[in-house]
């Protein structure tokens, strides 16, 4: 049985500066599969449509993964399947961005606050305006597909241990600097992997607004994942919901926050 929770809340710095929530999260569930995505549109001033970018990233995941038959997971070579999924998600996101741009070209008003250099960059490559991260999970048959690009991340839980999934942890990615769907080599940084259903009992999907206030994985596990998981198992979703709202508005670092919990009861 699959159980899930998903929530996005605006951060106080966005409220204070009159900026829309740039995170987006989405869940799809039917008899065959559950798909969940949480995406974080970038906060830098050049990303003038990152709220749409994060929605399109969630939509791209849903559009691509809903179409996948579970037999594909067994019949196709794993590496080929993963590459195909990555490519399809990238193409779908770019298609949604292009459709949006053709319907609503970037206006002078939207870029009026940017300097000439940034305006020029957007003119040359308007996709930058939609910059976002992407973290997603699909449970299909007895497999779990995880997809990740950029910060925040996926955290698998099994027997009281928390494992970061597809984590690009190095001395380069610091200070909220993240890989993005809008960069030219995004495909290189879009990671995907297939796991057995038995590998994790629960997966947390988080944007960086959830993770960063905890500063390191050990603290994040002990102070966030385990207490939230306890509430989730007790069915106390209202308290989790309220906590995520508070994390965005008062307790956290001021950034938007998105949390997805996907629990697999075998």
């Amino acid at each position: 049985m699959i159980d899930y929770f998903v929530k996005t809340a605006i951060g106080r710095s966005h409220v204070k500066n009159d900026i829309v929530c740039q995170d987006f999260s989405e869940v799809y569930h039917d008899e065959q599969r559950t798909i969940m995505a949480v995406c974080d549109g970038h906060g830098g001033e050049i990303y003038v449509r990152s709220d749409r970018g994060s929605k399109f990233a969630c939509d791209a995941v849903m559009n691509v993964l809903k179409e996948k038959h579970h037999l594909l997971l067994y019949r196709v070579e794993k590496a080929d399947f993963i590459n195909r999924i990555k490519l399809e998600i990238m193409c779908e996101w770019n298609k949604l961005v292009e459709q949006d741009l053709s319907k609503h070209p970037i206006s002078i008003k939207e870029v009026a606050h940017l300097n000439e250099d940034k305006q020029f960059r957007l003119k040359v490559n308007p996709t930058i305006a939609y910059g976002t991260t992407l973290n997603a999970v699909m449970v299909l048959g007895n497999r779990i597909l995880c997809v990740s690009l950029g910060d925040g991340g996926l955290f698998g839980i099994k027997r009281g241990n928390v494992t970061p999934i597809l984590f690009e942890d190095d001395e380069e990615t610091v200070a909220n600097i993240t890989y993005s769907m809008c960069q030219e080599d995004a495909f290189k940084h879009l990671n995907a992997e297939i796991y057995d259903l038995s590998d994790f009992s629960t997966i947390f999907l988080c944007t960086d607004g959830v993770v960063n206030p905890y500063q390191n994985l050990d603290n994040f596990s002990k102070s966030f994942i385990f207490p939230v998981l306890k509430l989730f198992k007790e069915g106390n979703r209202e308290k989790i919901d309220q906590f995520i709202t508070d994390l965005g508005l008062t307790l956290g670092i001021g950034d938007d926050v998105s949390l997805g919990i996907l629990s697999i009861d075998k």
């Binding site: 710095s13 740039q22 974080d40 970038h42 906060g43 830098g44 001033e45 050049i46 990303y47 990152s50 930058i128 910059g131 910060d151 009281g160 942890d169 190095d170 001395e171 380069e172 990615t173 610091v174 200070a175 909220n176 600097i177 993240t178 890989y179 993005s180 809008c182 960069q183 960086d208 607004g209 993770v211 960063n212 206030p213 905890y214 500063q215 390191n216 994985l217 603290n219 994040f220 596990s221 002990k222 102070s223 966030f224 385990f226 207490p227 939230v228 998981l229 306890k230 509430l231 308290k239 989790i240 906590f243 508070d246 994390l247 307790l251 956290g252 670092i253 001021g254 950034d255």
Partner: protein, 244 residues
């Protein structure tokens, strides 16, 4: 599974690290080091107000002195309240290599033995002050290692050339900051005192309000560094005996 903690515990404010890297070799003796000591006292008298003005960031201060060796004044970064300045005294050579190694270690993630957070965080401010050429031959090699650290790359870096006039010595400092725009030649003790204060205070004000997410290539980090640099440049116009 550890369920001892309650929801809402363990949340920390983002830390803004302000790092002073100070040459206290023999040639810094007298007015030069005296001005540095006074400047840091001045800065510390203002920092409580800056900390009070920002609720999002916790300012942490560290100081690294280097002469024959390099040594942190405190083993851990200190809050504005806890950082107490003790005057430095000049002696020995200019071992910039060791200073770069210690700085590289500091700028590693906590999981790798450094002082910087593994997750999130604010790009630090680093102010290097020296009056001469390094006496350690492998400083460039150590700088290369330092430059590989993501936290160094995104830091706002200033270098103060105290009474230095040779292009060779200026080149050493430009290699550290990555641009001549943030290398300042300072000719008098009074100017040095003012410059340190302007850089430390202005950059702390700007960067302590920069906790938002950044995106590809750290655009917002770069933007904040530019904002800080512009404000600093504006304030420096009023200081005599400074050149950049």
């Amino acid at each position: 599974m550890n369920n001892d903690r309650m929801i809402g515990e363990g949340i920390a404010r983002q830390e803004l690290n302000l790092l002073f890297v100070i040459d206290n070799s023999g040639s810094m003796d007298g007015e030069k080091l005296g001005a540095v000591n006074n400047a840091i006292r001045d800065v510390m008298s203002i920092m409580p107000d800056i900390q009070d003005d920002t609720s999002d960031a916790l300012i942490k201060i560290s100081a690294l002195k280097f002469s024959n060796d390099a040594e942190w004044i405190y083993s851990e970064p200190k809050t504005v309240e806890d950082f107490k300045w003790t005057d430095l005294y000049a002696d020995g050579g200019t071992n910039l290599s060791e200073a770069y190694s210690k700085l590289a270690k500091f700028l590693s993630k906590q999981s790798s033995g450094g002082k910087m957070p593994d997750l999130g965080g604010i790009a630090p401010i680093i102010i290097l002050m020296t009056d001469g050429m390094p006496t350690s031959p492998d400083w460039e090699l150590r700088l290369e290692s330092l430059k590989k650290k993501g936290w160094f790359k995104c830091a706002l870096k200033y270098a103060l050339a105290i009474g230095i006039d040779t292009s060779e010595a200026m080149d050493v400092l430009t290699k550290f900051t990555g641009t001549p725009e943030t290398v300042l030649k300072v000719y008098t003790a009074e100017a040095l005192r003012k410059v340190i204060k302007i850089i430390a205070v202005t950059s702390s004000k700007v960067k302590s309000n920069s906790t938002r997410s950044n995106g590809q290539g750290g655009t917002a980090v770069a933007d904040n560094n530019v904002v800080a640099q512009n404000q600093i440049a504006e304030e420096l116009q009023q200081v005599e005996d400074v050149e950049w």
